[in-house]
Amino acid sequence: MIRLKSLVLNELGKDAREDDSLAPSSVSSLVVPRKRFADAARTLKKDYALLAAEWAADETPFGRGFAVFACFRREQEYLVIKTEVPVGDATFPSLTKKYAAAYRFERQIQSLMGLTPVGNPDDRPWIKHEDWPANAWPLRKTFDAKTTMQRVPGEYRWIRAEGDGIYEIPVGPVHAGIIEPGHFRFQAMGEDVINLEEKLGYVHKGIEKRFESFSWQEAARLAGRVSGDTTVAHSLSYSRAVEALTGTVLPDRAQWLRALFLERERIANHLGDLGAICNDVAFTFLFYQFHRLKEILLRTNHHLFGHRFLMDRIVPGGVVVDIDGEGVLAITNELAWLEREYEPLVTIYDENASLEDRVRDAGVLRPEQARDLCAVGIVARASGLNLDCRVDHPFPPYDRISVNVPVLISGDAHARAWVRVEEIRESIRIIREILRTVPSDGLIVPIGDPLPDRSGFAAVEGWRGEILYWVQSGPNGEINRCMVRDPSSVNWLGLEQCIHGNIVPDFPLCNKSFNQSYSGHDL
């Protein structure tokens, strides 16, 4: 489990030192000097590690400067590499040339924390829009969250394509359907897409900054609203990071109930997505059918646990709702009903030639592209990457549940749909196992007070994929920084790549098969 760490220690020798301020101990952490930051990344890249996240923290409350962190993953291991950046020279070496996925993380660091990634070929702002004042860096401690943002003249430099017959289609931010806002710009020739560029950040609500004004307990509500469709997985990942930071040990029952909620969220969203994918190829029959099943699940959630999406049911220290024998029976019956209803629909999906014609070969993200972009979750598994933190980095109770991970290699819209089909089946099986096993100790324990200047890390497999939280306590044990990495932060890059060679009318389908979060990305 410490292969990556040993590699970096070997390569950097005395330059790298171990950092014991990060919990849990299963995640290793090294501090390296700024000039060796990119060397560490190169070493890890050679060993096929993937970049999971890159972020910055303002450590001036501790009398230090800034810090940049990069988190790498390979099989079961997470390694966080930290480098310190002095206030007087707010720059750090870019990792973009080693890891394409660093490209947007670094633009985000530059935009929101004001640290310049030296060597990143793209200095355009990200999430921060072009009409913000250039020196507005909201994640810095010197920036007051209540500041009224001024607008300054500015223009976004879009990538252009020129030539005979090439035209541009701007879409958004207000879209035609009931979806979140974002801007897409296509360059096309006839119907063929030459290039797609995304511009996101429209729903930036200042979430990471807002965390810093909340207590650890209060902030769970915010984590549950980073991306409303993933409220369970986000509040779970946040809570686990806080529990790691405070060394809180949970009762078993709480862990198992959390998994129950997580799998129910997965099934509900996958059903919704399958319906929406079918709708985008004008197969409304399946749209209404899958959504009918989803609605029943949400009603059961409301009936048993008091909220259709299970918001605020998971808090640091445990869960706030229980399930009784009647509830167990209700879910057991519901699963039997669901299987009966679901399987015939899958057969219809599978056997319909016109549907197949649209979803196969649409929006192909090749396995090597998925790897280069460090894709996660459904998108990764549809493109040949066998990644799932329920298996790779199992958090309880998944250390006691075997999870079968479906992996396809065709990387098209069909593969992304089919991964969902299989995952619903698997989640049904997992929920049955949970209901059989759920132990009867407590639901919640108080969390301790965090020591100052420590950090906690957690990875949870939400329905879209791996969700990372990294929290850091300040000098008085308060929240100094809370880094959120939704799967969308990386997977949006995949959508841009998979669309090449497709026709414009297939974009909604490709987009839906990804179904990434805007809010979770924009924060």
């Binding site: 829009h129 507005a136 909201p138 920036f143 007051d144 969250a145 209540k146 500041t147 009224t148 943002m149 931010p173 207000v174 035609a176 359907g177 009931i178 979806i179 979140e180 806002p181 950040g201 429209y202 729903v203 930036h204 609500k205 200042g206 979430i207 900054k209 807002r210 509500r221 915010l222 609203r225 980073v226 991306s227 409303g228 469709d229 409220t231 919704g272 029959f285 209404y288 059918q289 959504h291 009918r292 989803k294 609605e295 029943i296 949400l298 009603r299 409301h302 259709r308 999406f309 918001m311 015939p344 629909l345 057969t347 219809i348 056997e351 979060s517 805007y518 809010s519 924009d522």
Partner: protein, 171 residues
């Protein structure tokens, strides 16, 4: 094809009221809604939904009023792709700084009566996101609001009720 037809017949019509999961409210609101829409909007209320910064939770429930159980189309409610055809704007989220201009433009593009309904705790007052450099707070801070539908997120039933309240008393 046979399979599809079989499934359709077997499923039947799930649109409520329907025991045992009936929400008695839906039928009642439905009758009133239909009445209001018939008399004031000539049987058709076109809604343009605008996400001005939400977490997507409210959108999921707005989607749900379209599903077979709530089936809002039976009351004459439908969602339109352009504000130009909209009678009503259903706006979610705290208005983010980055969406302010787009929201104002959407409002400007909507023809009268331009009914604006702010959805969710966020749409009412900024919710958990409050007011900050990035979040301007409730929808009312940016465009005039006729009615609010609180909840985090409001359930589909609450949404239908809220829409009814918003168009009731207009004209």
């Amino acid at each position: 094809m046979i399979r599809i037809l079989k499934h359709i017949f077997r499923t039947g019509i799930v649109t409520e009221p329907l025991p045992p999961i009936t929400d008695p409210e839906i039928g009642k609101i439905g009758v009133q809604l239909e009445e209001a829409i018939r008399s004031r909007f000539q049987r058709s209320l076109a809604i343009r939904q605008v996400d001005a910064g939400s977490c997507n939770g409210c959108e999921l429930e707005i989607h749900a009023i379209n599903n077979a159980f709530y089936n809002c189309e039976r009351f004459g409610i439908h969602f339109t792709a352009s504000p130009r055809f909209a009678d009503l704007l259903l706006v979610t989220g705290p208005v983010s700084h980055n969406m302010e201009i787009a929201l104002k433009r959407t409002y400007a593009a909507t023809p009268p009566p331009k009914i604006v309904v702010a959805v969710g705790d966020c749409g009412c007052n900024g919710g958990v996101f409050g007011e900050s450099y990035a979040s301007l707070g409730g929808v009312g801070k940016v465009i005039p609001v006729d009615a609010v539908i609180p909840g985090c997120p409001p359930t589909p039933t609450t949404l239908l009720q809220g829409i009814l309240k918003a168009i009731d008393g207009k004209f």
